[in-house]
């Protein structure tokens, strides 16, 4: 199946980005495809490549790794401007994009799951 994912919260403050990651890993392990991961509102902060949590899980790196495996991970451009998130902050392989990407992930997906608070 193709599964689309939307994330509405940033890293660490809420469990949403963690749950999304573990879900995506399990979906891939079961042979599914991910039509895309759209990072919306505070969710864009999960794409911040400068995240350096001493001795803890690195949430940005997780999404960067997923993107490195060829999964589309897009952070909302407008949300990024609201949050002072600049293109140079993007974790490797993650991109900025508009809501058209979300629409595309929805259209392509057999299932769509949102993680938030």
């Amino acid at each position: 199946m193709k599964i689309g994912v939307l994330i509405l919260e940033g890293p660490y403050q809420h469990e949403a980005a963690d749950t999304a990651y573990h879900f995506i890993k399990a979906a891939l392990a079961r042979g599914h495809q991910i039509s895309g991961v759209f990072l919306y509102t505070d969710g864009v902060n999960n794409a911040n490549g400068y995240i350096k949590p001493p001795g803890e899980r690195n949430i940005a790196q997780r999404f960067s790794e997923l993107a490195g495996q060829g999964i589309d991970v897009i952070a909302c451009t407008a949300c990024a401007r609201f949050r002072g998130f600049r293109p140079d902050m993007l974790a490797e392989n993650v991109k900025l994009g508009g809501l058209g990407a979300l629409a595309e992930y929805i259209r392509e997906a057999d299932r769509f799951v949102t993680f938030g608070d």
Partner: protein
Amino acid sequence: MAQKVAVLMRKAPYGSVYTAEGLRSIMGIGVFELDISVIFVDDGVYALVKGQNPAALDMKPLGDSFPMLSEFGVTRFYVHEPSLRERGLTPADLVMEAELLDDEGVARALKESGVILPF
């Protein structure tokens, strides 16, 4: 056939950004051949209350934007009637006409859409 999407609004406006972003997401994806309905349940019904004025918060009013979604091809608006009633509201308190649904009606409206976007 266009993919059906239900935007499920369950949160109150202004206290958090979700109502505003739910609205913005509808405008953003509405132009891309998706068949969108909007369902207001629980505190989500507050989004449609008349007379919102967040000037003193330096925020933009949200209520009056919902009727304008018809310009984006969005015309199906559903309000969970028990949620409205429990909040002491009637359809006359809302900025627009919407179809009133009971519990089962909301379940049906959700089921008709394969994709639910919760805000």
